[in-house]
Amino acid sequence: MSQTSLPPAIDQDYLALLDSDRISGRTRQVMEERAQTSDAGYTPRQLSQSAYDVLGALAARVLPQTAILPDATINIAARIDARLGTPGDGWRFATLPPDTEAYEQALNGLDSQARQRYGTRFSALDAGLQDSLVHAMAEGALETDRLDGTQMRSWFADLRADCVQIFISHPAVQAQLGIDAVFNGGDGVFQGFSAWEKA
């Protein structure tokens, strides 16, 4: 996945709302930090470099960003790697090992399937062949060395959730989609949306 050196630009109207009294100081700080995070030179801390490379290529197929962010890309692989160093979301499939291990095994398994079937690493495959592997994984039909087809399918559900959570939390994406959820009230006046207009 190509990576721009700057984080995605944010729509001016949204930036004005970030500066307004409709958002709390704490939430403003969270959103601004997230907006300014640049993962251009990110090196993985939880995953191996090889697994991380597969994740970068895979995330681009699972959640392509151009239709929403035409000029820049959020480095989802970097954000997932960072997420894997946190306590997690409170649960995991009992059939899968702990998250970091599951990611490592699934990504390496996907890569070795790419080599076995097409003679090259996953990230070097063309998009069509990558998608055929993803499709098999989604159907529960991708057996790998460590994880069977059912486990890979479960892991793929976790991956999709991680991708969309990182993506839709980003201020640039919320700006593009017109999502105003974080502007539900400030510290001084807690406006809420009680008297909202429909549009």
């Binding site: 959640l63 009992a94 539900n184 009680s194």
Partner: protein, 506 residues
């Protein structure tokens, strides 16, 4: 809400583990009667003004210690399911507060399936009405399924999803109403009226939502109770006769004890069972961890032509109880339907997991967020021998094994799920939704220490006292003999007041 701190060596009258719907009403009741009571809360004390609608950050109010989820229908925990902090899961609960349908408490008598509760709805009703009065619940002037019922506050404003559900139900002749919600719509003391910020699940910032953090806990503290946050209980000490003498907890990495004359576990259906399994106590029946249930909580989503903005307003206002015993049911029991708005991250997670989209299809679907509205059901679930909480072989917090939850639908749950999906799809078609799809999911954790009169078949008696240890009580949704269709918080709180009476009487 500053409180005193009892000395660890002082024998307090009662230690309560947990400050949510189960622990807090009882804590207030016992403190008001002059007893020395301490609540130990595993999570921190949050400043409500610092709650944030950013969902990723708001996960601080969820129970994030890892649980292993197994079975044919593994449940998601953490987000919008299991809470932490002073106030427990009511910090994040959705405030939807229907009452139990009386028929659900005697399902076995009615159908030969499931179980009956050891007492009827009439026993519970006075406590339910008291909870509603004491915490503040809003609802319609005339509740179609219970015309006698009155609510102290008028309903909040209807959001886009609520209006769409009314349209769909009206077109099909399905009765509907503004649902009962545990929030106030007029200022009350320090608490402010709901402003429709839409972030109930991320923590209420102005005290409108009637969680224990702004209701029973301040009452308890002003009556002399202590609330001790950041304390994870992992041991129970007993004397030679087997009675509880102290609990062991970890605070700031250090193990401490609090001596007590009686112990109440109110940590929820997973953590209460986990602690009892870990300590090996109160399980002569072998029932601890068994009969784990959830609500069958199928959702249906659709896209509307008009803008909805699903993050705005109280998320889930419209209700129908017409499916509590549908005429064409091929299952026993019934379910409620409510309208669903939803915050973006929660919604996108449901799309990613539940609809299985990926690639351009996923990206394009996310673009429609502002035009989406949903319907959600909560349905009864039969106790089943194969659904249970056990200890895994992985070590978790303070050395206690991580819990493993095994949950699978039986034929009744599957049939109910399919009926829900059909019914809600019909409502959404009638409301004008397009691209309608349904998501199979279960919510809420119920059972694992059920109450009953037979010590061979239940963990606690009908008042919540352990059959095995006479100064150990359980007061949360683990004691529910059956799930019923209603969201559990109201009944948990009602039972908490009832258990408090029983403790006081001893």
């Amino acid at each position: 809400m500053k409180s005193r701190r009892f000395d660890d060596h002082e024998i307090v009258d009662v230690v309560v583990v947990g400050t949510g719907a189960g622990g807090a009403p009882l804590l207030a009741e016992l403190a008001r009667s002059g007893m020395k009571v301490v609540a130990l809360e595993a999570g921190p004390r949050f400043d409500p003004r610092q709650h944030t609608p950013d969902e990723a950050t708001a996960s601080e109010i969820y129970w994030l210690e890892e649980r292993l989820s197994g079975g044919a229908n593994p449940m998601a925990f953490g987000g919008n399911n299991s809470g932490t902090g002073v106030g427990g899961s009511m910090l994040h609960f959705g405030a939807f507060m229907p009452r139990i349908d009386a028929r659900d408490m005697r399902l076995h008598s009615e159908t030969g399936k499931g179980v009956d509760w050891p007492f009827g709805y009439d026993t519970l009703l006075p406590y339910i009405e008291r909870v509603e009065r004491e915490i503040g619940v809003s609802g319609p002037e005339n509740y179609p399924w219970d015309p006698e019922r009155r609510y102290a506050y008028p309903p909040p404003q209807r959001n886009g999803a609520a209006q769409a559900m009314i349209r769909g139900c009206d077109a099909l002749g399905i009765r509907n109403a503004d649902g009962p919600t545990a929030l106030i719509t007029r200022d009350w003391g320090d608490r402010k009226a709901c402003v429709g910020c839409g972030a109930c699940h991320q923590g209420c910032r102005n005290g409108a939502k009637s969680g224990t953090d702004v209701t029973y806990l301040p009452v308890a503290v002003s009556a002399g109770a202590e609330i001790r946050p950041n304390c994870f209980v992992h041991g129970i000490e007993r004397d030679s006769t087997g009675r509880v003498t102290a609990i062991v907890y970890r605070e700031n990495g250090e193990d401490r004890k609090q001596r007590c004359a009686a112990l109440v576990l109110a940590a929820g259906a997973v953590e209460t069972a986990r602690l009892l399994l870990h300590t090996g106590l109160a399980n002569r029946s072998g029932q601890v961890g068994r009969n784990y249930m959830a609500h069958i909580s199928t959702q249906v989503w659709g896209r509307f032509d008009e803008i909805i903005r699903p993050n705005k307003g109280y998320p889930s206002l419209t209700i129908t109880e017409d499916m509590m015993r549908p005429e064409d049911a091929d299952f026993v029991g019934g379910y409620l339907i409510q309208s669903l708005g939803m915050m973006p991250l929660t919604w996108a997670t449901g799309v990613a997991r539940g609809r299985g989209l990926w690639g351009e299809a996923l990206t394009n679907y996310l673009r429609g967020y502002n035009y989406m509205a949903g319907l959600g059901a909560h349905g009864d679930c039969l106790p089943n021998d194969d659904n249970l909480v056990t200890l895994s072989d992985e070590i978790g917090r303070a050395g206690v094994p991580k819990p493993k939850i095994t949950f699978s639908y039986g034929p009744n749950e599957q049939a109910m799920h399919e009926h829900m999906a059909r019914t809600m799809t019909g409502i959404w078609e009638a409301a004008g939704a397009k691209d309608i799809w349904s998501m199979d999911r279960a919510a809420h954790m119920i059972g694992t220490c059920r109450m009953g009169t037979d010590p061979d078949d239940s963990v606690v008696n009908p008042f919540g006292r352990s059959h095995d240890i006479d100064n150990l009580w359980i007061c949360d949704h683990s004691v529910f003999p059956s799930a019923t269709a209603a969201n559990p918080a109201l009944a948990i709180m009602a039972l908490s007041l009832r258990t408090a009476e029983a403790i006081r009487a001893r």
